[in-house]
Symmetry: C2
Subunit: 199 residues, 2 copies
DNA sequence: TGGCTTATTTTGACACTGTCAAGATTATTG
DNA sequence: CAATAATCTTGACAGTGTCAAAATAAGCCA
């Protein structure tokens, strides 16, 4: 671990990613500065620029990692046949994912990357893939139970917006009460399921 | 308007608010710096500090203004008896409110104030009042049509989360296609209305 | 009016930030 | 072993929010 200080770090790329994630958890997205990160990695201020084009690129790399985790979680939770309980459980897991690492979630969906910065092609790919994954799996969960003239894609988009909206309200500090969010999400699922025809 | 430069500006407080709103529209929330603002107002860098305790206070003032507008809009759109069309129309107006001044919306609901900074008591008051207003009016629109064991407050929270989620996806630059959002919001309203009993 | 208090505004300074350019050092390759 | 490429450092610049101390103007009370 703590080898003597050398000119070449040897493994700076992954060290940067690791320490950046730590900084993100500890100091939040605003507290994550390249200079602090460099210091933690035991390296000079501009060293990271040889591994990431700029700060935006670093943040995109972090977000990409997180999207891969989310994608994996979606695949794990939304498999098998659909039921209200399964969907309910998925929503809880999604909320947990977002609230256990709020700064990561902010990075994934926030304006820091998508608006102010520029999402990497890699990031865009994994982000869209995650949603497509969700849409497909939810579609087969609800298969045959949707009312006529109801596009499954629209249902996926709408439900995702709802859960995402709840997450944002929690993460951005507008709602503080976690149990309220829990109840609201149950209400949302209940409402959607009530609109479906019985299998 | 353009009087000769005096030591005392005379109306700096409101000038700052006005120019800050312009800067917000033009350069976005990240481009809104106190120094640029001071320059626009024709005053030195630290002059604004005698009218707003710090940058957070200025932003809270802007957000408070915006919430008052939203509150007024809610009252205007959600009066009278409820119908699917009226609610649909309200959602469209809400989307319009958010997308015509995205930076203001970001200020109102974003982490800049609610998480990183500290919302003023005044801001908290008007924000909660706006939601209470929405919840009450939506409640009377749906009166008597909600299924048993369905708390109108929860429905208000859930539906607000949905519309808010859609706005965020648009504003943060994740969704770019406006028509998609339009269709998704219609789908959301349709789903909720489908779960209600006929009047 | 004059003098005192208070409200505004300014200049100077500090610690931060991201990032560029130029040089120093090590690793790699022919 | 020499040349090239990769990696890292130091120095610098423009930008940020904000504090302290000094300058200026306005308001008020005699």
């Amino acid at each position: 671990m703590s080898r003597p200080a050398r000119y070449h770090h040897g493994d700076l790329h992954s060290t940067l990613l690791r320490e950046a994630n730590r900084l993100l958890d500890e100091d939040g997205i605003d507290g994550l500065s390249l200079r602090k990160l460099a210091e933690r990695a035991g390296v000079s201020r501009t060293a990271p620029y040889h591994h990431f084009r700029d700060k935006n690129a670093l943040l995109c790399a972090l977000a990409t990692q997180a999207f891969n985790q989310l994608d994996e979680m979606i695949g794990r939770q939304l498999q098998g046949e659909g039921s209200k309980e399964r969907i309910q459980h998925f929503v809880r897991e999604y909320l947990r994912f977002a609230t256990e690492h709020p700064e990561q979630y902010e990075l994934m969906f926030g304006r820091t990357i998508w608006k102010s910065g520029q999402p990497t092609e890699e990031l865009k790919a994994v982000a869209y893939r995650s949603f497509r994954n969700y849409a497909e799996r939810l579609g087969s969960q609800l298969q045959g139970r949707l009312p006529a003239n109801t596009d499954p894609l629209r249902v996926a988009q709408a439900s995702w917006a709802t859960v995402h909206g709840l997450c944002r309200l929690l993460i951005d500090g507008i709602y503080v009460n976690r149990e309220d969010i829990e109840a609201v999400s149950e209400q949302s699922v209940a409402l959607i399921m009530a609109a479906l025809s019985r299998p």
